[in-house]
Symmetry: D2
Subunit: 353 residues, 4 copies
């Protein structure tokens, strides 16, 4: 298994949460794409903790440095390495956790897998690993813009509160990143309540890719649905993914869910823009189930390394709802997946898209 | 993009629905595993159409031939190629579809992707491609049995009818492959009704892997969740996947969904046996959303190749609910995914599991 | 490790020499290429044993069957599986070898690697595995023809006899496949002498690809030189490879071996058509060292499975010089490598070549 | 194509010669290996220019920083990123080369491939890219030491001067890195002469891996020979590779080159420790042809970007013979290749080696 996603647009992240740095190597970026370090930084700022009252209050400066692959602001077609130093590492916060395994976390599984572990934070399982993904996603967005593709996303559910509208221009205007202003207020209230209870709550993030041409993806093992599903469930704290109608169309009839197409337009989008694994010209729509964050302040029963259990309250600064911070990560993974599918289609047909 | 799933246990399928044959090459099968051609045939028989009143009445003999990689009933560690000839191909059934694109199907996307297509049946997008997966899955099961892992699965929802019990021994006793005898009766009635309406209905397939040791999977891009999600959404007609609590835990609190572990046992399984991408010793639980089959007998509006639309009723023999036949395919993909994760863990640690 | 060569034009062979069949799956063939089964058969006939007095007298009909990926004589862009049944398997010839390890052969290493082996012939190590390569190479040639690339090759050395001319039109006119008519006579005489001594002799095969555009290959790990070297040394009985000037330019000066280029033409080709890993517009020239065939009729000392040694003469029909039959295999691997590099360049630039 | 070598022990380099940094990500390092940053630095110091009178006089401090994957001096099993800042970049040296393509160099091919280029130095084609390889190789050595494998290497030919002895303990005692003290003196004299003529000369580097157990490598596409050949010809300035007897055994008979094995020892090593692609227990022996360095001080005819030619003398500090500096790089690539083969064998058999 590897730390790489993609085969032609290959994204390899590295770095532990409490090591010297996190980063990414993007190998396969087409040459000649304008690469703006500030666009990368902008996406990292969206991912950063401490942005609002409803995210963790950890402060991470997260300044990105581009180490290679770019000359005079243009991609060379060679690997682009990007680096973010780890700065505010309160490793001490984790001393109490050295000899226990946190419930819901990967602590126990990691220790059994490797035989060694860095107990300070989640190591590779930490949300901090997503810094590299977001940076790589910013480049993928720049590449996709050349062929008229863009991605948006937002939180469409928190607990039992659903968004009904999809006004993507609102997403950055509320701390929940919800495309429905009214729902955003309710979601925020719920998150604050949960935060005060030292608990956490889950939600759903929705993503839309617009402008995807017909023909990306593959009919069998590498269906675009499959690649997107892998992309999404590689994000920490996700436990479900659906394309288009998803689980909701299970109860319907084929005569309802077969999107009618007149050669130019579809009258519905139950397929989520993908038919038989291949993009069909409709918007690509993906939804991701985000579990309640496993790091909570409430005391919990934990297995001890040497046997038995202990009740521990995890100190530190937690996200009561991880959705707002999953949004830029999921958008990045969507862009990366599409960039990879795009390059494969170029290889197949020998033309731009 | 490719027709291969897996990196160490590599499964490559080939074959169009109306070409001479379908098949698979399994490269990476460990040597010394007892390979029983009848066990492979048994799984293929479970996948076969025409098994009951609620599946398509197409008859496919589907006798498998093992072409390589096995000597004296034991795997050699070399590629195992398996072949199934296509026999009952009613290509004529498809003549009416030569110049139209069926709604919900991959016809249009395929044509735009490749510039050429075999209009007779779904080509590679046909469910027939899964023959190779099921054969490869049978071998993966044999390999996993060496380390005490087995997989089961069944239909747990059809339309709005849910299974409440999970008695996996019942699955082969009813045509729906439902692990709940009472629900099976209701599901069957619903499917028959839908069939008589020349329509189709969706459902949910659930899979469980038992005996998976702690430590399989990877913490970042190759999370076991991600690999399973890709495996499942590479199956035709699937549009959603969830692990453990999945979408259902979105509305809960972290204090509820953090599975408590005492060092030996878990009191719940919201993580579906996977923590931070790595198996945690609990049962691995996966659910797949199966859309209503896109092939229906009802007349539908279809886009014509040369422009405009036409209303066509698709002749032929369809599955009113694809779930019963998805079960063996999904089990196969689960076994294949686990076999691959197992071999990676052997590489990482240099020991059996 | 795998039985696959290439990443976008992926060739996976399967089959043991004494199993039911050998074959290949080509995944990544571009759609719309005219695929002529007779062109494939023609290449297989060139590879076949029993073609002349100086090759093994084994007779293998080797009729190829295309199982998938082709419709109406045109590639669909889906996997192309090709099958050749094993017919004349004199397994009995190998009974004497069941309990010994042949010198120079992979018998011992294979047994230690896998813990099991099929002692009848070389199994996967047999030259018979190259049937699939040659079939896949024929398709690669067809694909490359679209962009004006073709490959030729021949035997340029046998023992100490060198070819001085390179008239590739002569290659099929003599049993040695030598591009120099005079040298061919001497080579043939040498091979016959060695054959009569129940011994074998080595040689060098040279390959040339013409029409390769500038820009194929990669500057670092995936240099075109590296890919070609892997391709060549994956052929049985090869133990050396050189590009352009190769080992011969070791004794020269940089001022001699830096090919002068005036923007259109090169005055020399020490780089063998590849500069810094990337094709430079010159002819691609590769030479392969073919060891004396390890299967010889002379009695040899062999290690016994249960310890100790034994002197055994290997019965059966051997090639006294494997070069003439390596030629079509090496050409195939060259074509496959170039097809893969071509598709990568299409992915990189989004245009035909 | 990619900047990655290996599939389980994956080495991805990044960085241009005149960008901010060069480096590498090693993904797949087994956990629990003692990682000594000084051992990495030691190998980098061996690769460094400016070590003696016969290498380029460029000074590069090349201090390595480990960014991830190591905790308390032990590998975590997660990606190990290593970084070396570029410091002494005399970019001005290259201004005269902005509008011409140097003969023998990748300048022209690179420009045509990507459509853009960084004219300052070789970019990715620069020998500076090998910094990452050497760092990754140091880790591979550490991993291989666990299973008793070590690698040595040296310059065995310069121009027409051959080494006759193989005393590997002498390698670091002379600036040529020759395992034969007498030959080293002659080689050095030749290199100094060539240097004074502002020219360059080629040579041969030989590598030996000791302690490789039987069974590493694969019988077909991924023969250990093939992997080693790719590894070697991915090193800048190499144009040939041979295993064991290589080109030299072309003129011999099979009865001479079939290494006799008595079950414990081989009486010769024409196979170079690899039979049928699989290690056979003998020492693995590889030789690499290193062309005369393409960067020379003599005036040369160069193609101009806008057409026509120009005679230019390349300023700067060149290596008159690249062999001494290829030695640590080739050793690194050998170690990396073996580490990858080792992990594959662990996956295949589920045991240490």
């Amino acid at each position: 298994m590897s730390s790489t996603f993609g085969r032609l647009y290959r994204v390899t992240t590295f770095g532990e949460s409490h090591g010297p740095a996190v980063g990414v190597v993007v190998d396969g970026m087409p040459p000649g794409v304008h690469v703006d370090v500030e666009a990368v930084q902008h996406e990292l700022d969206r991912r950063r903790p401490g942005q609002s009252a409803i995210t963790t209050q950890r402060q991470e400066a997260d300044r990105v440095e581009i180490l290679s692959g770019v000359f005079d602001g243009v991609s060379l077609g060679t690997p682009i390495a990007m680096l973010v130093r780890n700065t505010e590492q309160r490793s001490k916060d984790y001393d109490a956790l050295k000899d226990v395994f946190r419930p819901g976390h990967a602590d126990y599984a990691t220790f059994e897998k490797y035989g060694v572990r860095d107990h300070r934070g989640g190591g590779r399982s930490s949300g901090r690993e997503t810094v590299g993904r977001v940076a790589a996603g910013a480049l993928a967005r720049a590449a996709l813009a050349h062929v008229g593709v863009n991605v948006v996303g937002g939180t469409v559910r928190v607990g039992s509160v659903d968004a009904h509208d999809r006004d993507w221009t609102l997403v950055e205007a509320n701390p929940v990143r919800c495309p429905d202003a009214d729902a955003a207020v309710l979601m925020q209230a719920l998150i604050e309540k949960v935060r005060d209870e030292k608990d956490s709550v889950g939600g759903v993030v929705e993503l839309v890719a617009r402008g995807v041409p017909v023909g990306w993806g593959d009919p069998t093992m590498d269906k675009l649905d499959a690649a997107l599903a892998a992309a999404m469930l590689s994000i920490p704290a996700t436990k479900g993914v659906e394309i288009g109608g998803g689980f909701g169309m299970v109860a319907l009839r084929g005569s309802q869910t077969n999107d009618v197409f007149d050669g130019e337009r579809y009258t519905s989008n139950f397929s989520g823009g993908i038919s038989g694994g291949i993009s069909n010209g409709n918007e690509v729509v993906v939804r991701v189930a985000v579990r309640p964050a496993t790091s909570i302040g409430k005391p919990q029963v934990m297995a001890k390394k040497e046997g038995g259990t202990q009740t521990v309250a995890i100190e530190g600064r937690h996200d009561p709802c991880i959705c707002p911070r999953v949004v830029p990560v999921a958008e990045a993974m969507l862009a990366i997946t599409l960039a990879d599918a795009w390059l494969h289609q170029r290889a197949l047909r020998g033309r731009e898209r």
